[in-house]
Point group: C2
């Protein structure tokens, strides 16, 4: 039971880990800890080997960190994984999920039986929880990670959530929120831009409830990290406003890890970064190599590891009772912590009934009481002059955000342009900044779109339903945030994404800022609402849809115009949830032509309809959400589009991709955009009503001559040749 | 003609810029420089005011930096903007394009007349070059910027390109490549993750030909940067392996700027970061505020600025002859530099004819001589055992990359999994690392997907056609890189993107790693080839298509399988360029059913076709590229799909979005994926041939009973209910 000798050369620090016994000052039985370490290493080797795959190295190298976290440092109750004031643990290095699964098992999460852990990399058996990356659905998993770097942003979001709640609800010595956020990162997450954006913002905000644990094993899939990453990470984090603690032998020196963690919990004013050097694949001869990262060790090497660690190479999945005993007090400690908190919360209820009531409602995931829809102005009360839909959306921000503490709203440096600022807003800032305090609900994310949405996911996941983050930037830059928006959809986390300046309508900024294809991604993505309202009235419906309980598990992105659009006589907020409806000519029972349009193009479509010569019975359909339209009955769809008897054409200043499902033809963008004032761009790309009417007239004439509707393969893009000019 | 007094408080450094004359040790006439500075500030105010928009502040604040760059430091020939050995200037803060346009005008780029600069924010008049962000098409613009952060990555890419060429071709004292790469960045680009990823990698690589000029004005759209960004950037860059030079009064102290630049040009072993504090909107009373960043100053303030700077507020666009004279030697210096280089290159030709010949061919944008297709194995010589398409793609990497110096190939830490390593590869590394040298063509991008592709764009843009970067990661992580891939398509820069593990076929990694919707984005995006080959033979066609001259201005992404697929009897490399063709049953003239499939699903589609009971005459079409199929004639399309007479169904393990254009129904993914071995996932989601055959049989039976083909609105997703289990 002696660890193998391994030369460790990490970032210039060398230490000979030669048969060094594990050290800790906290407990009396270092022998037990060595047993636990060895058990976890052997188990890991077995678990990967049984499926000849997986990521053994990090678990074997960082096992002592896991002991420190689950056995000593973190506050949680394995018997009630959802206990509100628990510490949150986020495994940003999601591929090392086995690390988390094993410690959930040992610390007493009942669902995480050994059989369940053995499901790692297993068939899709019903009820299997041990996925290849940790998934939020399962006990003890706070957030789904895997795409590297995003776990750090989620953790920063959780730290914001906790700070914001504490500043809002904690009173004197009654502090129902005082937990810590622990994030475990590898080398990869620190290389990813989203990790760096998040680190920068966390340092700025001084989030001293956040502890970032760097498993610095300096090895990735492709081998030694010094082939691509040689910066001085500790110095960098210091420059970014973090406390930094270095630990030099994280595979053995439990005492140093514990000392570091204890210190991190005490440090104030800044988040803390623990740079813990470990040896990937520790105790295998593959230690310190790329293969230890992402491959099973192989039968021979598994046997070697077991022999080295005093286990019988013939026996698999061996856990001696002492190993379980070592973790036995996790449950009692957790139960006691929760009981003490329950008592505190009872006192809180007695002393602060109003705050208690709100907090308790929010813990249950309810953001508002009934009737919030009535806070929105009626159509008659909406501005009747043309205005941008981004501004109309802001009416709802003003109406709701100040009133409900569940909302936090912020922007990636476009607060006013995106209309997410609100009355009497307080910035979420460290009080010493003089700019705001931690009770603030307006977050300045900086020019960090990806981190913004990653943070939002963390805020939304902190206690599901407790927060609704509102986040904004130009629609084009939702491409920077797309990897995080996808993770929200995957995890069923609700956010509101404000995506303004949503087309060539942004004008002078030019093609780099004009989205053409991005909507296709969001429309194809499962479980996300991409809503593009035609006017202020549809903006009311859009918000109502996104905030309705039906959208509780679904993020929404609102694509909004920079340019003004008129309030349409036929628009109807109640129909946004249907995805599409006749906004003009609904009285026509047997249209010859149906024009579908979205957003700022709807008013143009109505103008176009009026100018048509070839057909007189024309309907215009506003389709703010393809996704919601798809969910309607066949009868409803036919009643709106009349596609079995009328020609259908779509008008949208984005790519035509996807429109063949709804229309026989489209007027679309065929190239990237251009730099010019928006009105001239609509002309330049062929979207002026008179031009569109000419195009449609010629097309409808052609098809009425044919005496049938176009079939598959006959979809046409009526502005295609317009590219040339 | 005295600058206004402004209190400057930047990152803790305070300096009173009170009527301080501009200082420089290099020239004799500081008065002229002050005139030039003032001229540029007044011109900027006028140029923005004429269209009541734009970004005046940076230009006014950083004008002295512009003087230093164009008048003193950079080597270029305004009379030949494409001179090969020129320094490259990249404006990462693309919204400040007026900065670049004005200095291109003053330094003598003939195309950049004052009238042309006045087109800034103008109508889309033909030939207008002064777009709202700089665009690569125009003289003196190396790369299109605007989406923040990416300019830094482009600059790092250019520095890599220059280093790699120098190491490859420079000989003794004959060095045809010895230029510098200058990148101008604002606060935003330094906050963006892609900027940080690129900075980290540039530091690692020790690119001492790169100078990053930070216009540290500490103000963004939303105001003072200290509301979200308070890190010590200089210390951070030091920690990341950069030389750092601080300049404290960049709006006036030209001497300090020049001293910094001179030093930066001499420093060795690391890239240099110049942290230059400036005052945004300098000389306006809006200086140091958010509005100075992105709004015209207003008539009154424009008049104030002019009065302050000794100009008549009534006169617009005033340029005194002394201002032009000041820049007059830029042309002669540039011409002389080019002539000297031409002489050097003649000597080089005489002494190193082989290297000269290759370099000269590459300068002209030709990567290979005729006949390179013959280097690929014939179908008979391809492995006949099933193998992953990622591995088949690697056959081409091995066949071509070692032979042609135009290729650089690398990965975001998945070199072996994506099969982009090649025989006798040398890593692109600083020689001191012991890992490689700058002649290396294998780049270790680290876990930085976005920067990888941003760098690739810089490499591709260095001298168009000179390099073809090959970059790889899992397909899912092409979502991290999507903002840069889009910029390649927009700029018509060719790269080869290797996107492996392209579906649920990745298996155990689970839903976070399984793309469902991403293909819809790339298919909708203009000017990019998303190619998903069915087998090794189609891999040959895919590479041939991407490397053909027809794709010279188009990036390609190859979606490749993790799992093995058989070599299909009917596959044909020559047909990949057609986008789709009958891979099975092509002899059937009148199919009852046509099945379209892509990638790894094609073999499953053929199996499914064989198991169908309801229809016997079934064709299977492989559609590796929707984009190329769209470009074919109506006749060809009908000949392949027979859609006017046969039912058409698509099989693809991605979302159905977009398939209604080609098929009456699809078998698609309707949710995110799952963690399990890939074969079980295909079953879990309904893609086993027997299950698909059952679904299709029931559907075709239904429609043959109806006696007609489905019309618009009758598109069906045949696995939709499969979500539920």
């Amino acid at each position: 039971m002696t660890p193998v000798a391994i030369d460790q050369q990490v970032n210039g620090h060398s230490s000979k880990l030669d048969k060094k016994p594990i050290t800790t000052s906290k407990v009396a039985s270092p022998g037990d800890e060595q047993l636990v370490l060895n058990t976890i290493r052997c188990l890991t080797a077995d678990l990967c080997q049984q499926y000849k795959g997986g990521h053994p190295g990090t678990v074997m190298g960082a096992a002592a960190i896991g002991i420190a976290l689950w056995r000593y440092e973190m506050r949680y109750n394995p018997l009630n994984p959802e206990w509100f004031n628990r510490d949150r643990f986020i495994l940003s290095a999601g591929h090392a999920c086995l690390f988390q699964y094993l410690f959930l098992h040992f610390s007493g999460y009942e669902a995480w039986t050994l059989d369940q852990v053995k499901n790692y990399h297993s068939p899709a058996t019903k009820g299997s929880m041990a996925a290849g990356h940790p998934e939020i659905e399962y006990p003890g998993i706070e957030v789904t990670t895997g795409p590297l770097g995003q776990g750090i942003s989620n953790a920063v979001g959780m730290a914001i959530a906790s700070k914001q709640l504490a500043a809002t609800y904690n009173k004197g010595d009654l502090k129902p929120i005082d937990n810590k956020i622990w994030c475990f990162t590898g080398d990869g997450c620190l290389q990813e831009g989203v990790g760096q954006e998040s680190i920068s913002l966390a340092g700025h905000l001084g989030l001293d409830n956040l502890i970032l644990v760097y498993d610095n094993n300096s090895v990735t899939v492709d081998g030694r990290i010094d082939n691509c990453f040689t910066e001085d990470t500790s110095a960098k984090l210091t420059a970014q406003g973090w406390h930094v603690i270095d630990v030099y032998d994280g595979s053995n020196d439990l005492a140093a890890i514990l000392e570091g963690f204890d210190k991190a919990k005490q440090l104030k004013g800044k988040p803390t970064f623990l740079n813990i050097r470990t040896v990937i694949g520790y105790s295998s001869r593959k230690a310190n190599t790329g293969p230890a990262h992402g491959q099973a060790l192989g039968d021979e090497e598994v046997a070697y590891v077991k022999t080295q660690l005093g286990f019988n190479p013939e026996d698999k999945f061996v856990i001696r009772s002492k190993a379980y005993e070592y973790f036995s007090e996790c449950k009692s400690k957790g139960e006691q912590a929760e009981q003490e908190w329950n008592e505190l919360f009872r006192q809180y209820q007695a002393k602060y009934p109003t705050e208690y009531s709100e907090l308790n409602r929010r813990i249950k995931g309810e953001w508002a009481s009934e009737g919030w829809q009535d806070l929105l102005p009626s159509k008659a009360d909406l501005p009747h002059a043309a205005q941008p839909t981004r501004k109309s959306s802001g009416i709802v921000v003003q109406a709701l955000v100040p009133k409900f503490n569940s909302f936090v709203a912020g922007s990636a440096d476009l607060l006013e342009s995106t209309f997410v600022s609100f009355k009497d807003q307080v910035e979420f800032q460290k009080p010493e900044s003089g700019l705001g305090d931690y009770s603030g609900r307006q977050i300045r994310f900086g020019i960090r779109e990806f981190a913004m949405v990653g943070l939002g996911n963390g805020i939304a996941a902190y206690q599901k339903g407790m927060f609704i983050p509102i986040m904004s930037t130009f629609f084009m830059f939702w491409i920077y945030a797309a990897p995080a928006a996808r993770m929200a959809a995957l995890q069923q986390l609700r956010f509101i994404g404000i995506a303004t300046h949503d087309s060539i309508g942004i004008g002078e900024d030019g093609p780099t800022h004009q989205p053409v294809a991005l909507a296709s991604f969001y429309r194809a993505l499962p479980n996300i609402n991409l809503i593009r309202p035609a006017d202020a009235e549809e903006c009311m419906g859009m918000w109502t849809l996104a905030l309705d309980d039906k959208s509780k598990n679904t993020p929404s992105i609102f694509a909004l115009s920079r340019q003004p659009v008129p309030l349409l006589p036929g628009s109807d907020r109640s129909k946004v949830q249907l995805g599409a409806y006749a906004v003009h000519g609904s009285e026509i029972e047997d249209p010859q032509l149906t024009i579908i349009a979205t957003g700022a193009e709807v008013a143009r479509a109505i103008e176009t309809a009026k100018q048509l010569k070839s057909v007189k019975k024309v309907r215009v359909v506003s389709m703010p959400s393809q996704r919601h339209f798809d969910q309607q009955s066949a009868e409803y769809k036919e009643s709106v589009l009349k596609q079995s008897s009328s020609l259908v054409v779509a008008i949208e200043a984005w790519a035509s991709y996807g429109w063949a499902k709804y229309a026989h033809a489209s007027l679309s963008m065929h190239t990237f955009g251009h730099s010019a004032p928006q009105q001239q761009l609509y002309d330049y790309f062929g979207f002026e009503p008179d031009h569109m009417a000419t195009k449609i007239d010629s097309w409808t004439t052609r098809w009425s001559n044919k005496g049938r509707l176009p079939g598959l393969g006959e979809f046409e893009e009526l502005l295609l040749e317009h590219v040339q000019h």
